[in-house]
Amino acid sequence: MANAPKILLFILVGLLTGISGYTFHFAEGFSYLTDDPRACVNCHVMRDQYESWQKASHHAVAVCNDCHVPQEPLARLGAKLRNGYAHSQAFTLMDFHEPIRIREVNRRIVNDNCVRCHSALVAEILPHKGAADPSWNCIQCHTASGHGPPR
């Protein structure tokens, strides 16, 4: 029975793969590869954000991913991986700040996306460093564009 440990290991690896695969499916893992805003309310913590977006002006022209992830494919995947991990960890351990607040790195992404669509309008007023200038913050004033007035 020299092979016994090997067989047991194979069984365990198979079990792990199966359970992991099922957990991924159960958590609707593939939905996060799409642009469907409903994926962002899979875990219901984002319900406020989802519902307020539905009632705000940008509802007609932009989904979550138009504003909250970069548009270049690699950067986009990177942002999804980074935030996906952070969100999963926060929601599993329930150790996040209430109310939920955007992190600086993600606010920069939103800002870039504002400029991406509205560049014709804002080109003349961009700072010298362009949209990357940290003092350039569209949503400091335009608080209600994405999610309606704060409530």
Binding site: P5, L15, I19, S20, C43, R47, P99, R101, P150
Partner: protein, 483 residues
């Protein structure tokens, strides 16, 4: 062959380690699956109806079986209070000796303490010297207990059937309120309860306290602007249309017409208001016929029964004074938060998360106890910054309150010495009127439970006027020839 046996051992160890690691990962993955499953379960917001709730179930513990999370919060109003209520020293009279002079002749000069959590409202009422040493009416129980069932029962006994619920409620309210406190006390057993604010079958918000229902009708019928209460403005328009068309005019009914956001303030406004006991039967009345602002309420009192109303006569000056109660709803109505559509519950019962469930916090308390959920939902500033802003409003108000107290105390002494000197009656009447005006304004701010926060400008305006009236009264005594 030591080499081979070492190799076998090493292989066994590696296998064993791999098996343990893989098994551990499998367990971790199962735990993760379980956690995801729990969150999904929570998100369904399952509601178990274990008890069939009816109007007759007053005990919050029964409601708690259906709404355990809300009940948990409700029960926690016993804790987390800065103050000790009627049982705890020191009384405010010891901390601020001027209050004894300011309230001379009123039960508040005997016992005056800070309030504490909802859970204590009935107990604190029972042990206060103000009910033990002074005869009080059953009216007190309108807000210090959950009296709805007792009102209905007394209305029924007076011969008004269940087919006329409004008349039945009002009749019971009148009977119970005009009884002596001790007699009426036997018919109630709980402090504020679920049934006061929620419809039993649907848990929908509702208002049930008769004095509020009558008061808000009268406010709706008045001309006073109430831009923060849109359903009243709408009712007034329809009211006009009905009048012009010669149709009968239905009364304003908050349970039918108020928006959900208005209801989230109205449930609190059932009690956190200015009130008085009608003479001579001591029925509870909310004085909103001329509006909610301190001046409008004063105007109402001045005209009441022709020659005006007073809660008591000041023991030193003999001035007919008004005792402001706890006009939180009225003060909030003058502030920026009300104008912005923010309800009482938004700050005092903010939404919070339990797992994936969102509930309103039934542990009603100061928003400064949980600035993140109470304030940061709208105000995107650090907690320290928000707390500093609130505290600066409160500290400035309190500083001006103590300045006003001194001015009022000096007026009281001036009036007293004027009387003893035998000043002419006209002068004394003028000073006494100033005492009434100054006291009402100071009391309106001092008795209101936010230290000015609910409407900072209004609070400071009232205190400024109070100081002015106090000094005018003093001046009248000091130089009676000038005006």
């Amino acid at each position: 062959m030591p080499a081979t046996s070492t190799q076998t051992l090493a292989r066994t160890v590696i296998y064993a380690a791999l098996i343990i690691v893989t098994a551990g990962l499998t367990v971790a993955m199962l735990l993760l699956w379980q956690n995801i499953a729990e969150r999904k379960e929570e998100a369904r917001q399952l509601h178990f109806r274990l008890v069939e709730l009816t109007e007759d179930i007053v005990d919050p513990a029964e409601w708690g079986k259906n709404f355990p999370r809300q009940y948990d919060g409700y029960r926690r109003t016993v804790e987390d209070t800065r103050h000790g209520g009627s049982e705890a020293p020191p009384s405010r009279l010891e901390k601020d000796p001027l209050l004894k002079l300011i309230y001379a002749g009123h039960p508040f000069a005997v016992d005056f303490r800070e309030a504490r959590g909802h859970a204590y409202m009935l107990r604190d009422q029972d042990v206060s010297e103000r009910t033990k040493r002074f005869p009080q009416p059953g009216s007190c129980l309108h807000c210090h207990s959950t009296p709805l069932q007792a009102y209905r029962q007394h209305g029924r006994q007076a011969g008004i059937g269940d087919d006329r619920p409004w008349e039945q409620l009002i009749k019971g309210f009148e009977i119970l309120s005009t009884m002596p406190y001790e007699r009426a006390r036997a018919f109630v057993s709980h402090p504020v309860a679920c049934v006061d604010c929620h419809e039993p079958r649907t848990a929908q918000l509702r208002v049930t306290r008769p004095a509020f229902l009558i008061g808000i009708r009268q406010l709706a019928r008045s001309q006073a602007p109430v831009p923060h209460l849109p359903s009243i403005a709408k009712w007034r328009q329809e009211h006009q249309a009905h009048l012009q068309a010669g149709r009968p005019v239905p009364e304003y009914d908050p349970n039918m017409l108020a928006t959900r956001q208005e209801m989230r303030s109205f449930v609190c406004a059932q009690c956190h208001v200015e009130y008085y006991f009608r003479k001579p039967d001591k029925l509870l009345v909310y004085p909103w016929r001329a509006g909610l602002q301190a001046d409008q309420i004063e105007d109402y009192y001045d005209r009441l029964d022709g020659d005006g109303f007073s809660d008591w006569t000041h023991a030193v000056t003999g001035a007919p004074l008004l005792k402001a109660q706890h006009p939180e709803f009225e003060m909030w109505s003058q502030g920026i938060h009300a104008r912005s559509g923010v309800a009482c519950a938004d700050c005092h019962m903010p939404y919070r998360r339990e797992g994936a469930i969102k509930i309103s916090d039934h542990h009603v308390r100061s928003p400064l106890r949980q600035i993140n959920v109470a304030c940061q939902t709208c105000h995107r500033f650090p907690e320290q910054e928000l707390e500093a802003r609130a505290r600066s409003i409160q500290e400035r108000t309190l500083a001006l309150v103590s300045r006003t107290e001194k001015a009022l105390a000096e007026l009281i002494e001036a009036l007293n010495s004027g009387k003893q000197r035998g000043a002419d009656p006209q002068t004394l009447a003028r000073a006494s009127q100033a005492h009434r005006r100054a006291h009402w304004r100071l009391d309106f701010v001092m008795s209101e439970n936010s230290d000015g926060f609910h409407a900072p400008h209004e609070a400071l305006r009232l205190l400024a006027e109070a100081i002015d009236y106090a000094r005018q009264g003093q001046w009248a005594i000091a130089s009676p020839s000038t005006r």
